[in-house]
Amino acid sequence: MASSKASRLGEETRMDKVNAELVVLTYGTIVAQLCKDFDSDYVEVNKQLDKMGYNIGLRLIEDYLAKSNTVRRCANFRETAEMIAKVGFKIFLNITPTITNWTSDGKQFSLVFDENPFADFVELPDDGRAQDELWYSNILCGVLRGALEMVQMQVEAHFISDVLRGNDTTEMRISLIRYIDDELPPEDD
């Protein structure tokens, strides 16, 4: 039931559209420039992408909350996953990744991306390392980490496979580390 509600919310939320090629080229330029700036140190590039995503996520969540009109907090992490996949990804990237591979404690799941609007046309550099080291869409991990932190969930997100690397699927693993408590006002002196 919660699942269909999330789908509906994702479908109904109206967003301004932007040309897909513009997104591909903009994001691609960022990644390519990072690769250049860090001398093809792909581990560092991944880190930078994650950091950029984190900063985006911190802001994007507010837009998400405003646009999607969600008033209630998610009751559990499964519901959170539904909202991420069916509302968040739907309204911002117009895709709905599949949620799968839950661990039994309900704290870890995978998002499988059937399509990735960032990665159209992309072929990783043919230097023998990029295929093993660069996570091209790593910015998404950061976005989720930043956005969820703002709604009091500390998570860890990383890609475990990517079609750009020649894998069959593009899969991101997300683990809930803890719920962040409300910050208390400082004690009066």
Partner: protein
């Protein structure tokens, strides 16, 4: 018919080359160039670039059709708006040219017939589309050699499909 296809960048620098044979009329898709002709092909094709410069402003079309002929080698050219040249050298095999007069207009035999012209146009158009996709990759820079194996496959597929 044997084909030698090359993409030439804005500095007249080669970006990509691919050699194949006809797949029409039971062709096996293998080129029949001799080892010597292979070296000559590159030279012939690049020497046509001067002609390209002459004709490129005349028609206003991207597809310039057959622009040059060197003995039995015909050169067709397709020019992108970004001044990158897709060049195709086609060489009818001597046997085919002599033997089958009934098929004289078909692709792979008569290099200047309207059918061949159309087939090459389709080939160029498809390669052009894929070329645009290849250079859309963020890791590609202007006038860089196109190394993408995917692009090579697609060129090969276009060759099989139309030529």
């Amino acid at each position: 018919m044997s084909y030698y296809f090359a993409i030439v960048g804005t500095q007249d620098n080669p970006l990509f080359e691919y050699e194949f044979g006809t797949s029409k009329q039971g062709g096996d898709g293998q080129s029949r160039f001799t080892e010597q002709a292979r070296h000559l092909n590159q030279f012939v094709l690049h020497s046509s670039l001067d002609i390209v410069e002459e004709v490129q402003w005349t028609s206003g079309q991207l597809y310039l059709k057959v622009i040059d002929k060197f003995f039995n080698n015909y050169i067709s050219c397709f020019m992108t708006a970004g001044n990158v040249k897709l060049m195709l050298l086609h060489q009818p095999t001597a046997v085919a040219a002599g033997a089958s007069t009934r098929n004289s207009t078909s692709v792979g035999v008569n290099p200047t017939s309207p059918q061949t012209e159309e087939a090459i146009k389709n080939f160029f158009t498809e390669v052009y589309e894929n070329y645009v996709k290849a250079i859309m990759s963020p890791f590609y820079k202007v006038n860089m050699e196109i190394q993408s194996p995917v692009f090579r496959q697609r060129v090969a597929a276009a060759g099989r499909k139309y030529l």
